[in-house]
Amino acid sequence: MYSTPLIFAALGGVISENSGVVNIGLEGMMTLGALVGATVGYFTGNPWLGLLCAGLAGGLLAILHAIASITFGADQVVSGIAINFLGPGIALFLSRIFFEGATMTKSIDLDNKIPRPLDGIFQQNSFFDLVFNQYATVYIALLLVFIVWYMLYKTKLGLRIRAVGEHPKAADTLGINIYKIRYFSVILSGIFAGFGGAAMSLAVVSNFRPTLISGQGFIALAAMIFGKWKPQGAMWACLLFGAAQGIVVFLGSTAISISSQILAMLPYIITLLVLIGFVGKSAGPAANGVPYEKGER
């Protein structure tokens, strides 16, 4: 539950950075996605449409990032930071327009949210119920992990994406259109980040508010690096983080009296410890973050 939005965003990061474009704009793309998802979901009463539009919104924002960092060889980190200002800015701006000045959207009632395919199959709060009775977004996320993995490592497209991320000049000499590939990857990453935001505002809760996305984008970024730029790796990282949060909640509910602030640190400390545990020498794609210019050497 906690992990799902992270997985979406992290997958986005994986795609973009495998093509050699750093995307720290995930946070901003998620925020916009969250708002658009909640808004469309509220007005149309169709969560799927909401999810779709959220993806598109994230994608649109990603196009900005793409134009800057691919066409104009911008510093990808700077552009990403810009996205993180623009995303929330635009989101709140739109929110005020659609919800008579409110920065919080009206909430969507249960049956207009992303459905839970396995709802009611198990008896409430039984083990299975807690494990499997999840929102469709959860399954979509897991499915996407597989799809992205397949795309990156089993298809022609994936081979090209990774080649462009590793050694763009080589790809260029073989007549591969670096710009096309990178645009595709960046926009896709925006779409995924948008999904991630919607997974918050359409499944975890059913409305948007300015604080809904606070830091998830960066956690996703960390998860992607943690997962060594691989989809499955990123997924495990996200799940680990989610699990840690679960533990916190569980411990908090038990009698043992640890200061809740100390507890709250746990997920972050655990993540660090795990990284230290299996020496986290993670090196990304060779050309990651390097703008490509024809005729440059």
Binding site: Y2, R209, V249
Partner: protein
């Protein structure tokens, strides 16, 4: 003779407020305060405005620029501005100030503190929860532990205790006013552990809690304003805090030249500053509401003194 509009403008009272980081649309006390001012505008013809704060560091400058705009009264909304407002008041003796949720040992003459007995409304919703739980377990989720939230927690506990000594109260803090996902996880955990009603005083985290209630088809209790619109079927009631009333009243008395400077105005049930949501009757049976009503009376008459922190709670029989 006839006043020109300009003169009218000049003679018009001006009141402004500085929101805390929640912003004016926080669906909570900031918004409520603003509604109070708007009402003052409509009914008392007072000119009103607000300044939103994004981080704690904005309070000072916002105060300052409202000072420049020559308002007759400047509100600081939320305890976070407590000290600042006092200092401002001391720096600018000729300017009137007011603050929500803060009581000073000694209040400057040009400043009035307004506090709400959140514990009283929390007590009432606690009582309702205590009466209506089928599982004998109810929950409380706080945002970040602190005096204000303590008021909610212990008032609520007392209410539950009053209703039924044997009902267990699960208490947990989210250490955030924003992390809806965590709020949801906590609420789910509480429902799983057998609680069937959860009360929250945790801002944005509450969204997650009410969401959980919605999904599990359990009850949640809203806070600050009537939150039943978030989930009509699952919000049992809400512990309301009528910041609007307070803001309006002070505006009124200012207009009548009776500004209660130098004092701390306490808004409890008596003053209509706190209450349970009007929509409560949707889920709460009449007889319980009846009991709630005379509990109110007892509190107003001072027959019941509602505890507001651990110490007073331990003394609460």
């Amino acid at each position: 003779g006839q006043k020109t509009p300009e003169q009218a403008e000049k003679t018009k009272l001006k009141i402004a407020m500085v929101t805390d980081v929640g912003g004016v649309n926080d669906q909570s006390f900031n918004q409520s305060a603003w509604e109070g001012l708007k009402r003052a505008e409509d009914e008392l013809g007072i000119k009103v405005s607000y300044k939103e704060s994004r981080q704690d560091a904005d309070y000072g400058p916002n105060m300052e620029s409202l000072l420049d705009e020559e308002n007759d009264l400047i509100w600081g909304i939320g305890y976070k501005m407590g000290n600042l407002v006092k200092e401002e008041a001391e720096k600018n003796p000729e300017q009137k100030y007011a603050i929500v949720d803060y009581a000073y040992e000694k209040t400057p003459e040009n400043l009035v503190g307004v506090v709400f007995k959140a514990e009283q409304s929390s007590f009432l919703v606690g009582y309702i929860a205590g009466k209506m739980t089928k599982t004998g377990k109810v929950g409380f989720v706080g945002g970040v532990k602190g005096n204000v939230i303590d008021g909610f927690e212990y008032g609520y506990r007392a209410g539950v205790k009053k209703a039924n000594k044997d009902v267990k109260v699960l208490v947990q803090y989210a250490d955030s006013f924003t992390d809806a996902a965590k709020g949801k996880a906590i609420a789910n955990q509480m429902y799983k552990d057998g609680a069937d009603i959860v009360f929250h005083a945790a801002g944005g985290v509450g969204d997650g809690i009410i969401e959980a209630a919605k999904e599990q088809n359990k009850f949640a209790i809203g806070v600050d304003r009537d939150q039943s619109n978030l989930a009509p079927e699952n919000v049992l009631t809400s512990a309301m805090k009528h910041v609007d009333t307070a803001v309006f009243d002070i505006a009124k008395s200012l207009k009548e030249g009776k500004f209660p400077g130098g004092t701390t105005v306490v808004y409890g049930l008596k003053e209509g500053g706190v209450d349970i949501a009007p929509t409560s009757n949707k889920h709460v049976p009449a007889d319980i509401l009846k009991e709630v009503e005379d509990l109110k009376q007892q509190i107003i008459d001072g027959k019941i003194v509602v505890p507001y922190n651990e110490k007073t709670f331990s003394e609460f029989k």
